[in-house]
């Protein structure tokens, strides 16, 4: 609980606008990563759609504000719900099968949503984007508002992740990741479980997108679907430890501030030039050499136990753990 207390108290010590902004984004990434982890980590299905939901959430929230006058900070949970319903439809197409079609469909989904944002000009404003009215607040108060809002969303995401992990639902997801055939055989409704996991992850991405739109007071098809957001979500989760509750949070808290400060620490344009390539290299290296992530690897080192390869259902239920060949993409 200690870090939570620190985070809640920090603004009262007079965090300036810059740090409020930095932490706002860190919380956003952490919440999105925890959400992504539910489908990507627990269930083992790599989703490239969360960016699409982030952008979709931005636009849906933005349009509700400009057409209906509903404030985004109030409607974001509803926006999340609407996007989760879209996720259910997408999931129905992609998750009925076990194969690589999920990755392909989720990537296609993100592109399609961006395309629609760009081309349904009468609704979305096209590439001109949508500008949103500013919340007329003192800048420091405004910074505080977004800070606490996203901190709240982050806490919620962690609570949800913990809740899932302790439930039969969570055990079912992990079983699907370990061996979907066996999970199916033991009576788990794998399609339903997968779709629900996907919907939950979409909810968090959409809420983050909605709040982001209000934060920038502007949405356009480029910044609502900025690919580096998706890359960051995935790297943060993997680096932190996918399949764990706190891994993605750790990944976000390490990687986001690092990326932000790199531009101030390195000379001239080096940070910008290597930014993307460096993230890519980190992803490859982590996947190859530390696939369990920092949290789990650290736990193993500290307790000097043989690696349990994340948490397998077998271990949880007392059977000896066995290596299984996974064929899901």
């Amino acid at each position: 609980m200690v870090p939570l207390v620190i985070l809640v108290a920090l603004p009262f010590n007079g965090l300036n606008g810059f740090l409020l902004d930095l932490l706002y984004f860190t919380f956003t990434y952490a919440a999105m990563s925890v959400g992504w982890n539910i489908i990507g980590g627990y269930t083992g299905y790599i989703s490239l759609a969360n960016l699409g939901f982030f952008g979709l959430g931005s636009y849906v929230a933005g349009l509700m504000l400009t057409h209906l006058g509903w404030p985004i900070l109030l409607t974001s949970p509803l926006v999340g719900l609407l996007c989760a319903l879209v996720a259910a439809a997408v999931g129905w197409v992609a998750l009925r099968t076990r194969g690589p079609s999920f990755v392909i469909v989720t990537l296609a989904f993100t592109f399609i949503v961006q395309f629609l944002a760009l081309n349904l000009k009468d609704i979305t404003g096209g590439s001109a984007g949508l500008y949103l009215p500013l919340l007329s607040l003192d800048p420091l108060l405004r910074g505080d508002l977004f800070y606490y809002y996203m901190l709240g969303v982050l806490v919620l995401s962690i609570a949800v992740a913990i809740g899932i992990r302790r439930s039969r639902f969570g055990l079912g997801l992990i079983a699907i990741r370990e061996d979907e055939g066996k999970a199916e055989g033991s009576g788990i409704n794998t399609s339903l479980f997968k779709i629900v996991a996907f919907m939950i992850s979409a909810w968090f991405a959409a809420v983050a997108g909605a709040v982001h739109a209000q934060y920038l007071n502007y949405i356009d098809p480029d910044l609502a679907f900025e690919l580096i957001i998706m890359l960051n979500m995935i790297v943060m989760t993997l680096l932190g430890s996918r399949g764990t509750v706190w891994g993605p949070v750790l990944g976000a808290f390490l990687l986001f501030p690092l990326q932000s400060y790199l531009v101030y620490w390195l000379p001239s344009t080096i940070a910008g030039e290597v930014h993307l390539a460096l993230l890519g290299v980190v992803l490859v290296l982590v996947a190859r050499f530390m696939p369990n992530g920092l949290l789990v690897t650290a736990q193993e080192l500290i307790s000097r136990r043989p690696p349990p390869r994340l948490e397998t259902v077998a271990v949880a239920s007392g059977e000896p753990a066995q290596g299984r060949v996974r064929r899901n993409g």
Partner: protein, 410 residues
């Protein structure tokens, strides 16, 4: 929770480190010890998608800083630019302007290139009531929220870029005018704004719309579009292109399918002096666009700017990019306001600029309440015999030349 224990320490440490670092950052990076200097804060895309125009703009700002300081500064105070690279990402740009205002204590702000970056960052400046002068973000969205702290330094807003084309066509005798127009447009707000204005004017003049379609920014293959325009008997092409790439690709495509309009106007493309000729060679002849600034222009202060730029950033073609001029002009406007009001009180600067006109390398004009320029006009330029000349309006045409029509086959 087993793994919470292990996460708690790193997360807490990171948070603590952030707080400590923020104190360090505030005092060490870039804040000058001499508090007589005027600190100007800028965040530009020096890397990423917009790095080319971002670097040009940044160079322009550097030239301005150098010229101002070599002339003794403003009111005796030197200008010091603190500039960060935002990697062409809007979120990063917003974060950097937050830092410039709340940590680096910038006195005044200059904006980044491109409307897409200006729109989110002008809002940050507005929250802190800081003046925000910028030279490239001219799309209507920039002004839609009526921020009074924003000032766009070009002779006119984007929609009016092609006004000279309209006035030229109007000046032609009715039997020489084109009769059918084609409007292929990049899906970009700047391009669309320009083309929509022209189309409205032409339709009012009786020029039929033979083709009107939007193409995606990634479109590179224009043969099908050329075929359609040819079939529609389009004789004046008004293309809403965004860069020399789509414009030049279009010319090549049209040439390959035999689409030969009498007039070929591009919202953007023919203005990139060296690359346009390189890409198209003879096909460039008689192509047209409009510019807010031309390197050879004799506007007051321009020669000094061009010379200073080529000295600081020499290149083998001796070309000064337009974004550099726009940035330089933004600096000039800011400097004029600081000089006139005697200080860096942002509220006073804002009021002064709304009430006055300023002469810069972009022209002589003032602003309305939302920051749109008032009282200036673009120049229509055309490639004639391998050279870029101002062809219209007649009073600023290079050596009194007239626009060439019909365009030779490309």
């Amino acid at each position: 929770m087993r793994n919470f224990r292990f996460a708690k320490v790193p997360i807490a440490l990171t948070v603590l480190a952030l707080t400590v670092a923020s104190c360090g950052l505030g005092s060490s990076s870039g804040t000058p010890t001499n508090n007589k200097d005027i600190i100007v804060g800028i965040s530009e895309p020096l890397t990423g998608d917009k790095s080319d125009i971002g670097t040009n703009s940044d160079n322009g700002y550097k030239v301005w800083e150098s010229v101002v300081n070599s002339n003794g500064g403003i009111n005796g105070r030197k200008v010091k630019i603190i500039q960060y690279d935002n990697n062409s990402l809007a979120d990063t740009a917003v974060s950097q302007y937050q830092k410039l205002v709340t940590v680096d204590n910038a006195d005044v702000l200059l904006g980044p290139v491109s409307s897409a970056l200006v729109i989110p960052t002008e809002a940050v400046a507005a929250q802190y009531n800081k003046i925000f002068v910028e030279g490239t973000g001219g799309s209507p969205q920039v002004f839609a929220r009526n921020f009074n702290n924003v000032f766009f330094v070009q002779p006119a807003t984007v929609e009016h870029q092609a006004d000279p084309l309209v006035s030229w066509i109007k000046s032609l005798p009715a039997d020489q005018r084109p009769t059918v127009a084609g409007y292929p447009t990049n899906d970009d707000p700047f391009a669309q704004a320009v083309i929509d204005t022209v189309r409205a004017a032409f339709e009012g003049m009786g020029i039929k719309t033979g083709y009107k379609q939007t193409y995606p920014p990634t479109q590179t293959d224009f043969t099908a579009i050329g075929t359609q325009m040819k079939a529609a008997k389009v004789d004046i092409l008004v293309q809403g292109s965004v860069a020399d790439q789509d414009a030049a690709g279009a010319v090549k495509g049209y040439s390959q399918v035999g689409f030969q309009p009498k007039v070929a106007y591009f919202a953007s493309g023919p203005d990139s002096a060296s690359t346009w000729l390189q890409l198209l060679d003879k096909k460039a002849e008689a192509t047209m666009t409009s510019l807010d600034w031309l390197q050879e222009s004799t506007v007051p202060g321009n020669k000094e700017f061009v010379d200073a730029y080529l000295k600081l950033f020499p290149n083998k073609d001796n070309v000064v990019p337009a974004e550099a001029a726009e940035a330089y002009a933004a600096g000039e406007v800011l400097a004029a306001a600081i000089k006139a009001t005697g200080g860096v009180d942002n509220a006073k600067l804002i009021t002064w600029l709304h009430a006055n006109k300023v002469q810069s390398v972009e022209g002589n004009f003032g602003w309305d309440a939302a920051g749109r320029p008032q009282g200036g006009t673009f120049d229509m330029i055309q490639w004639q015999s391998g050279k870029l000349v101002i062809a219209w309006p007649a009073d600023v045409a290079t050596n009194g030349t007239k626009p060439v029509i019909p365009k030779p086959s490309w």
